[in-house]
Symmetry: C2
Subunit: 401 residues, 2 copies
């Protein structure tokens, strides 16, 4: 009987627990035992783990429980494989008789998988290491998209549409700026384009971090948009920056220190709100969608939940067949319709790289092409039936509580 | 055949359109014609209105369409009833042969109903004026609660619970501050208490504007809470202020001007985030729930939708029986269980007053009593089935588009 160790790392997504569900279910069906690291590799170093096979837990609830059931960490393994931490970790793997380690996470987590797998090669260990992708940023290379992105995109699109409806009710010019997560890649902000309908063209302006942001062009864009529509909704990535590489959210650096002597870092949306108020003088409001983008599980995409589970199951199945040092990737078929196959790619080709939003899908620096629409639309389809109790979604109690 | 004119005013709620639905349906069933003001009384002054009876529109969708279907306004009628605007409005009512005017809104809208009804008395007009309450702030007097509050409370409770789950995943001290709407009344912030479960006591601290806010007590509270729990979630009303009456969100006034010379007004949550970072030094994040509190229709309370419709229907029925100058109030039965009767109260007793959160429901200045739990719990019950199309909720196109 094989023994599997699974961990979650980095920022949560609405479906990171669906991948965990897939791992647990596939492992059980294949007759394996599963242990879960508490707080990722960092917690495991302190021997914090839990037996997931033997628990009397309704794991179905993982599909609509946000955040990381096993807890998380942000822990980067040293570059030098001779560091003692590697020896310690492998001693602990051995002590627990682990055959397979699955790590659910983004870029940094894939780096962890890569290093552990290289160390295993060096010491000729048989332990298999597999990466299970997750990120709302959708910035992992070698995969069509990442589990977690579809649900975040659905939340962003739905919420921006609600905001467009709300912002339009008054009969006077108003600019509403929505700040969306994504420091380096604009995938999530681009999803706001889905909020448009045949009769409602808002958000009229969309700015991604892939394009240099220029305040004077922005001002011109907003003025033009106000000619078209009394209510203008603008969506911006938190990470937009100017041609010199300076983040817009840092434009207040020098002048704005709070009374405690800290930089305000109030966000790009807030900076632009003040800019519009001072330069156009119309009503302006900024909204930061913030954490709910990654933790609002009540509106997760059913397609995303399904794919996240399959990615987890595939990781187990492939490891049992001897794969190691690889990540489960989602490959979209080239033919018509939406068809995903699950294939293994070397994790070393994935870690420490970022997949940017394609520049040819950005129109005029402030809009998104229909090609992106075709890409993203299948990812937000379907709704998972959430179990409510006393008026609120029933969530699974985290393993670390 | 009686002719009804209905308008929506002030900030939207998730169910302001459910009240409109109730008005349209009851009017149709009673054989009346219904016209809708576009952009409230202000738009009507410019003769902007729409025939709601004759339209081929799927009004069922109003139940899950956020914002104000008819558009809104913030327009205060003059105190002096001799001002020309009254004569103009009544000329327009007469021109359209209006018998009944229903106005859906909060405090200011009830003031409009009061003034129009007093003017009608003065000129001996037969037109009936009825107020239909709505507000997420829940601050109208003479009614147990207001349509719109239950849905906002459900969204706040659900989202805070998600944030609590998300904030707890790392194994290190973290303070998360959630800023919730409510400038003068703490009803909505108090609803965050519903996020707690038997095993999760976050949000550990809740501050309402009814209690003077003191930075040093706050610091002590947070330090104590960090002794109890590694992750501390704090919920604050946007309108918290100190003993001198100064808003916490204005604490940066003097020192913080942005590069365009404006006050930052970044919100109470942001101010407290910086305060915690500078005085405790632990990781701290602030989240402003912002507009989605009032416009996220996908998680509206079914009970709230139902009551909002009945309030609208009751307004029509009572006006047809000759009532005027009154608002539909919701009276809760004193016996066990939750039972609401719909009664008329003089609108003059409602307008320009604010119902504060009861001080005896606030515990130690930073917590909420179980009595509030009994009050609020019935208001968030039930989920409305939202119709999705292409992965997103199907919304009704606003009448003003």
């Amino acid at each position: 009987m094989k023994r599997i160790l699974v961990g979650q790392s980095g920022g949560p997504t609405a479906v990171i627990n669906s991948s965990l569900y897939g791992v647990i279910m596939e492992a059980k069906e294949q007759g394996c035992e599963v242990y879960g690291m508490i707080n990722g590799i960092e917690g495991f170093l302190e021997e914090k783990y839990i037996d997931l096979t033997g628990q009397d837990v309704d794991y179905e609830l993982l599909k609509c429980t946000p955040a990381s059931y096993l807890g998380s960490c942000r822990y980067k393994l040293p570059e030098n494989l001779n560091e003692i931490v590697y020896r310690l970790l492998f001693e602990k793997f051995k002590k627990l008789a682990i055959d397979i380690v699955l790590y659910i996470g983004g870029n940094d987590s894939m780096d962890t998988v890569d290093k552990l797998s290289r160390y295993a090669d060096e010491i000729e260990s048989d332990i298999k290491f597999i990466g299970i992708p997750k990120t709302i940023d959708n910035d992992l290379v070698e995969t069509d998209h990442c589990p977690g992105y579809g649900s975040a995109a659905k939340f962003v699109a739905g919420t921006v549409r609600d905001v467009v409806w709300d912002a339009g009710v008054y009969d006077r010019p108003v600019v509403t700026i929505v700040e969306i997560m994504g420091r380096h890649a604009g995938w999530l902000t681009a999803a706001s384009v889905l909020a448009r309908t045949e009769y409602e063209k808002n958000p009229l302006l969309i700015y991604l971090p892939e394009i240099d942001f220029d305040l004077s062009s922005f001002l011109r864009d907003v003025k033009d948009a106000l000619e078209q529509s009394r209510s203008v909704v603008v969506c911006v990535s938190e990470g937009i920056k100017d041609a010199a590489g300076k983040l817009i959210c840092e434009y207040e650096d020098e002048s704005v220190m709070d009374q405690f002597g800290h930089k305000m870092l109030a966000g790009a949306g807030k900076v632009l709100e003040h800019f519009i108020k001072s330069s156009i003088g119309c009503k302006c409001r900024s909204i930061e969608l913030n954490l709910p983008q990654r933790c609002f599980a009540q509106m997760a995409s059913a397609k995303d939940i399904e794919e996240a589970e399959i990615v987890g199951r595939t990781g187990v199945a492939k490891a049992l067949k001897g794969q190691s040092g690889s990540m489960v990737a989602m490959i979209r078929a080239r033919e018509e319709g939406y068809n995903i196959s699950y294939e293994m790619v070397p994790v070393t080709d994935v870690c420490n790289l970022e997949k940017k939003f394609p520049s040819d899908w950005i129109v005029n620096g402030n809009d998104i092409s229909d090609k992106f629409y075709d890409y993203v639309e299948p990812l937000i389809q379907g709704e998972h039936t959430v179990e409510f109790e006393g008026g609120l979604p029933r969530l699974l109690k985290p393993a670390y509580k």
